[in-house]
Symmetry: C2
Subunit: 235 residues, 2 copies
DNA sequence: AAATCACTTCTTTTATACCATATTAAAATA
DNA sequence: TATTTTAATATGGTATAAAAGAAGTGATTT
């Protein structure tokens, strides 16, 4: 028992060097990963005892972690207060994306003013990598796509915006991933990214905002299409 | 002991009729109120045991409540993990408002399409009440101002947007309240509300978005001014 | 006299035990 | 046989106790 504690302690100290991270925060990170990577499918019940045992922690920090994910929208409680992985409808997803579009338009606009040349170069490089034919794995392409958006918002240096954007991205991760597998719209994506990049280079705020919104509204179409096919398949 | 339980049970049932609310959620609501109403000033430490005793609950649900408020940005942890009421700098507040402006512009735009005539009438009535000289209490005027914004966003019927807007509003409540006491800009506020209302009546999306953004950027100026004066006073 | 180290105290963090409720399965009755 | 009721089990909610960590205080040493 003493050994186990020493081991846990060591892990903790190594894992979180800067601002010490609590078990709850670690658990939240783990759960978020699980949900995003579909190890926990939408609708999956999350019994506190089982999950806490699986993560090797007690229920107290796990419950706190789950509260975090509820606010982030990744976990929801049924009418009988049983927690499950959130399973948003297409309508809800579209609502999320509308907010996401506004956030990214804002972030992109600010980035046009605030982004350093280094940041812009990184973003351009990422885009060129995506445009080259080196990326064959769809999952890898999807990750780069997500990173493209994140980098732009981060370039705004608006912390609350970055955090809120991260939360909306997390809610939408799965839907976008599914849509990215189904749609063959790599060409479209690249064109829209190009438009965004050019607005960034020119530091053209209005152009950026329009390009961002257009890009996200394409996303809505793709997801709607993917979802509809999914449903037809099921029936 | 049995009596006490029965009593608590009754309270619980009465307090949360629809989706049964946990003590943590109740506590979060209470704490939020306290913070918004300045019963707990920014920077105030929040020792768990004292607060839980004051609220008459144990520390477990209180801790969960505090986690919620951390995500919402109303509570933050010091480097030594001691919780305190968040005390954002002027720069951070300005960043919040920029996001809030984007959210309200989006909400207003959607409301132009989605708002029912009843909803529009309610909003107009509220605005007229504010414009009449019946409201003398600055706090009351401020509440109505907040409600004006909330009603418009709610008219968008975009749930995640409404929730995120609520959170940003909560973070900004205090700053806006202070600014509302200091600035004599009732006239300006009313004019800008009028512009917003007219855009809503005409269901003019672009006009609404511009009016909303303009209104929020005025808010930035007011808060900056109030904050500067506050600091000068202190020195 | 100042500085440092150890010890005590206070606060957060985690675990565990208990309680109330919801779900289920089984049994009894119609 | 089907339906309803009841009992058992599993699950979330809450409280409390034990553990870990940080800060303050006092004593000792240089």
């Amino acid at each position: 028992m003493a050994d186990k504690n020493a081991w846990l302690l060591k892990l903790k100290k190594e894992g979180a060097v800067s601002p010490r991270q609590s078990l709850a925060e670690e658990a939240a990170d783990n759960l978020r990963e699980f949900i995003l990577l579909e190890k926990l499918a939408p609708g999956t019940p999350i019994p506190e005892r089982d999950i806490s045992a699986a993560l090797g922690i007690s229920r107290t920090p796990l419950r706190e972690a789950m509260r975090l994910l509820v606010v982030e929208g990744l976990i929801e409680y049924s009418s009988t207060r049983r927690p499950k992985v959130a399973d948003p409808s297409l309508e809800e997803i579209i609502q999320y994306i509308k907010v996401l579009a506004a956030l990214e338009a804002l972030g992109g606009g600010i980035a046009c003013v605030e982004a350093s040349f280094v940041e812009i170069n990184d973003i351009l490089a990422l885009n060129e990598l995506m445009a080259s034919n080196k990326i064959t794995d769809p999952l890898e392409f999807f990750r780069l796509d997500m990173q493209f958006h994140t980098l732009i918002v981060e370039a705004s240096k608006n912390e609350p915006l970055i955090e809120t954007h991260r939360q909306y991205n997390a809610r939408l991760w799965r839907a976008r991933f599914i849509s990215s597998r189904r749609t063959k719209g790599r060409e479209t994506t690249l064109n829209e990214h190009k438009a965004i990049s050019e607005a960034l280079i020119k530091r053209n705020v209005a152009g950026m905002e329009n390009a961002m919104r257009a890009h996200l509204y394409t996303t809505i179409e793709n997801i709607s299409e993917a979802k509809t096919k999914e449903n037809n398949h099921e029936t």
